[in-house]
C-alpha cells in the first residue's frame, strides 16, 4: 500500500516541482552508485555543497492530494500592517523506526521546526506541556488525527512529523494541518543525510510559508554584517536566523558597508586594506574581484536590481557624489550633481528610482531621484538627520535611520512621503535597516544591550530580538536575496 502510494507521489513530484525523482532509488542503492548519482543531480541543482554531504543528501517531497482543494486560501497576508499570530502546535516528532521510542532527534527536529516557524513572527508556537496526546502513540494521517485534541488547546495549525533513522540516513515525514478545517495542507517526505536535517526543516518551512502567504519564504537567505570579533572590522556572513556565522574578509583593516548583488553572487564593500577607503567588488564563491580605488572615499555601494552594476559614493572630484559603476568597477555615469554630500544610494526594486542621502538643504535628508527624468525630490522633512535609506522589496516604503532628540532610531516612510512611522524606541542607538527579500522583516544594529549587535524585527516593528551573539561588536547588516537551498 505504502510503496504504491510513494511511487504515485514521486511521479507527481517530478511533474509539479521539477526535481528529478532520484531520491528513492539512490537511497536504496549501494554507496558507490549513490555517490555518482548524487554528484550528477545535486551539483547541478545548487552548485555549492560539501562533497561529503552530497553522497547521501537525497530527499523526496510528497504533495498530497488533499492539499489541492484549499490551494486558494491565503492564511497570512504579509502585506497587512498588523498580523495576528496564528496559534500553532508543533508536537515532538514520532519515531517511526523499529524502537518506536522518543529520542533526542524527535525533539531536536521539532524544536528546529518550531524555532524556524517562530522566526517569521507569523506564528505563536504553543507550549507542548499543554498538549493532550502522546506523539509516539498518535498517528500522522489525517483520518486518524483527533483534531479536537488540538482545537481544545487553541491550536489553529498543527505541524506533525515522523522520523526514522538508519545510521547516518534520516527519513523524515512532515505534515501541516488546519485543525479547525480538519484537513491536511501540506505533506512531504524527505530522505537525507543526518547532517542535513536543518536543510530539510528549512525546506519544509519554506513550503509552509509559500502555502500560507502566497510568497516565497526567507529560509534560504543569509545576512552579512560587520563584526570586530578579531579586533578588526571584518565582514561576516550568517544564515537568516543567525546560525553558523563565518568570517568572510580577513584584511585586518577596516571593512564596512557590505552590499549583496541581486543574484546573490557578489558582495561589494568598503575596505581600508590599502590605507584608504576603497571599494571592493568580490565574487563570494570564488573570493576574487575588483578594487575601485579613486582618491578620496569610495563608499556605500548598492547593487542595481537585476544588473551587474552598482551605485556608490565617490569623492575623487572633491565632494562625495553618487556614481553608477559596472560590476568591474568602471564608471558609467555620475548620478547626482550637487556641491554637497551625496551618499548611501538605495535602488527601488524596479531599478527606476534611486533614494540617497544629501545635505543639500543643510542637514542630511533622504531624496529620491527618478533615473529616467533626472528629477530629484526630497522625501523626509521631519527631523534634522535622516540617513541610510533602504527601499522595501515591494517598493512602497523606505526604511531609514533618523536622529531625533539625541536618539537614533529606525523609521519607515511611504515612498510618497507623509508621516514616518518610528519602529524602534528607547533602546540604545538603532541603525542600518536591511529588508528581508520578502519585505516581511528588517534587520538592524542596536546598542540596546551595550555593545552593538544585530537584531531583527517584523516590518511593523514587532518581535524585535537579537539575531546572534559574537565576540566584539556587530554593525551594518545586509540581507541577501533568496539563494539556492544548499
Amino acid at each position: 500500500m505504502r510503496s504504491s502510494q510513494t511511487t504515485r507521489y514521486r511521479s507527481r513530484l517530478s511533474e509539479q516541482t521539477g526535481f528529478a525523482p532520484v531520491g528513492v532509488p539512490e537511497y536504496r542503492n549501494t554507496g558507490a552508485s549513490r555517490e555518482r548519482e548524487g554528484k550528477n543531480s545535486f551539483i547541478q541543482d545548487s552548485g555549492k555543497i560539501r562533497r561529503s554531504l552530497i553522497v547521501a543528501l537525497v530527499f523526496v517531497g510528497l504533495l498530497f492530494w488533499s492539499a489541492l482543494p484549499c490551494q486558494a486560501r491565503v492564511y497570512i497576508d504579509i502585506t497587512a500592517p498588523y498580523l495576528r499570530k496564528i496559534p500553532t502546535a508543533v508536537p515532538l516528532l514520532k519515531d517511526m523506526g523499529p524502537h518506536n521510542s522518543p529520542n533526542k532527534l524527535t525533539k531536536t527536529l521539532a524544536d528546529l521546526l518550531a524555532d524556524t516557524l517562530a522566526y517569521t513572527g507569523f506564528f505563536q508556537i504553543l507550549d507542548r506541556r499543554s498538549f493532550l496526546e502522546d506523539p509516539q502513540q498518535a498517528g500522522l494521517m489525517q483520518h486518524v488525527i483527533n483534531f479536537k485534541n488540538w482545537t481544545d488547546v487553541g491550536a489553529e495549525l498543527l505541524v506533525k512529523g515522523g522520523l526514522e533513522r538508519r545510521g547516518n540516513l534520516l527519513k523524515v515525514e512532515l505534515r501541516l494541518f488546519d485543525t479547525f478545517g480538519g484537513r491536511l495542507i501540506i505533506g512531504k517526505r524527505y530522505t537525507c543525510h543526518l547532517a542535513d536535517q536543518r536543510r530539510v526543516i528549512r525546506r519544509f518551512c519554506n513550503d509552509i510559508i509559500r502555502r500560507l502567504t502566497g510568497h516565497e519564504g526567507i529560509f534560504n537567505t543569509q545576512i552579512a554584517f560587520v563584526s570586530t570579533t578579531t579586533g578588526h572590522k571584518e565582514i561576516y556572513i550568517a544564515d537568516f536566523d543567525g546560525y553558523n556565522p563565518r568570517q568572510f574578509t580577513n584584511t585586518r583593516a577596516i571593512t564596512l558597508f557590505p552590499a549583496w548583488s541581486s543574484d546573490g553572487q557578489y558582495l561589494a564593500y568598503t575596505d581600508y586594506k590599502r590605507g584608504s577607503p576603497d571599494l571592493y567588488i568580490k565574487n563570494i564563491k570564488e573570493r576574487r574581484g575588483t578594487v575601485v580605488s579613486f582618491p578620496g572615499s569610495n563608499i556605500t555601494p548598492a547593487w542595481a536590481p537585476g544588473k551587474f552594476a552598482l551605485a556608490a559614493s565617490l569623492s575623487y572630484k572633491g565632494n562625495p557624489s553618487i556614481y553608477l559603476l559596472t560590476g568591474k568597477g568602471k564608471i558609467i555615469k555620475k548620478l547626482t550633481h550637487h556641491w554637497g554630500i551625496d551618499v548611501s544610494p538605495a535602488w527601488s526594486p524596479d531599478g527606476k528610482k534611486l533614494a540617497f542621502v544629501s545635505n543639500r538643504s543643510g542637514s542630511p535628508q533622504i531624496y529620491i531621484k527618478d533615473i529616467e527624468s533626472g528629477k530629484v525630490r526630497r522625501l523626509t522633512f521631519k527631523g534634522k538627520y535622516n540617513t541610510s535609506p533602504q527601499w522595501s522589496p515591494r517598493g512602497d516604503y523606505i526604511a531609514y535611520t533618523g536622529l531625533e532628540n539625541g536618539q537614533t532610531n529606525i523609521y519607515l516612510i511611504s515612498t510618497n512621503g507623509g508621516c514616518p512611522v518610528q519602529l524602534t524606541r528607547d533602546a540604545g542607538k538603532n541603525e542600518s535597516p536591511a529588508w528581508s527579500p520578502d519585505g516581511s522583516m528588517i534587520a538592524f544594529s542596536s546598542t540596546r544591550e551595550g555593545p552593538s549587535r544585530i537584531y531583527v524585527m517584523n516590518a511593523n516593528g514587532w518581535n524585535q530580538r537579537r539575531l546572534l551573539v559574537l565576540k566584539g561588536e556587530q554593525t551594518d547588516p545586509t540581507w541577501s536575496p533568496r539563494l539556492s537551498f544548499r
Binding site: K233, I254, L256, F257, T270, G275, S276, P277, P295, G296, S297, I299, T300, S313, S315, G318, N319, P320, I341, D342, V343, S344, V357, N359, S363, P364, Y385, T387, S388, T401, L403, G406, T408, E431, S432, T475, D476
Partner: protein, 198 residues
C-alpha cells in the same frame, strides 16, 4: 678537596718564581751632580717662560674654541628641539568642527595658517589630512562628512599657497575616535581633522 689540590699546585710554581724575580732586581744608581753656568741658566729660564706663555695662550684659545663649539651645539640642539616641537605641534594640533558641519571655524583657520607656514618652511614634507566625526549619526553619512572635513582643510591650505600634490585626504568617519568616551566633551574632540606627515 679539588680546590686544595690546585692551590698546592700553583704554590709549587709561584714560590720559586717570586724568589727568582727578586734576586734579579737592579741596584739603584746615584745621579752625578750637574754643572750649570749662570748665563745658561738665564737663557733656560727665559725659554721656559716663553714656552709657558705660549702654552697658556694656546690653552686660552683652545678653551674659547670649546666654548664656542658648545654654544653652537647648544644653539643647534635648541633649533632642533624647536624644529621637533614645531613638527609635533603640526602633527598634534587638530582642527575641530561643529556637529554635522565641515566649515572651518576661525580658530581652525588660525591653526591652518600656522600649518601652512610650517609646510612652506619644510617644502619636502607631504601630509595626509584625516577627517573624523563623533559617534553620533550614522556611519555611512559620517564617512562622507569626514571626507568633507578633510577636504575643507585641504582647500584652505591650497588657498594659502600649499601645492595640492603635497596633501592627501582620508576620511575615517567615526571609526577612529580621539577620545573613546561617549559624552559632549569627547565628541567635541573627535570632530576633527588630524594631520599625519607622510
Amino acid at each position: 678537596m679539588r680546590n686544595r689540590f690546585w692551590i698546592g699546585l700553583s704554590m709549587i710554581f709561584l714560590i720559586p718564581g717570586v724568589i727568582f724575580v727578586t734576586s734579579c732586581a737592579k741596584k739603584p744608581v746615584k745621579p752625578a751632580p750637574s754643572v750649570v753656568t749662570p748665563q745658561a741658566a738665564k737663557e733656560a729660564e727665559a725659554k721656559r717662560l716663553a714656552a709657558e706663555k705660549a702654552r697658556a695662550a694656546q690653552k686660552a684659545l683652545e678653551e674659547q674654541r670649546i666654548r664656542e663649539e658648545r654654544l653652537r651645539a647648544e644653539a643647534k640642539a635648541r633649533r632642533e628641539r624647536e624644529e621637533i616641537a614645531r613638527r609635533e605641534r603640526f602633527v598634534n594640533e587638530h582642527i575641530h568642527f561643529e556637529f554635522d558641519k565641515s566649515r572651518l571655524l576661525p580658530e581652525a583657520k588660525e591653526i591652518l595658517r600656522r600649518k601652512a607656514k610650517w609646510l612652506k618652511e619644510n617644502p619636502d614634507v607631504s601630509v595626509i589630512i584625516e577627517g573624523h566625526c563623533d559617534e553620533r549619526g550614522t556611519n555611512e553619512y559620517n564617512m562622507a562628512l569626514g571626507d568633507r572635513r578633510a577636504h575643507s582643510a585641504k582647500s584652505y591650505l591650497i588657498d594659502l599657497g600649499i601645492a595640492p600634490e603635497r596633501m592627501k585626504t582620508i576620511s575615517y568617519g567615526e571609526e577612529r575616535p580621539f577620545d573613546p568616551r561617549h559624552n559632549e566633551e569627547a565628541w567635541a574632540k573627535n570632530r576633527r581633522d588630524q594631520f599625519v606627515i607622510q
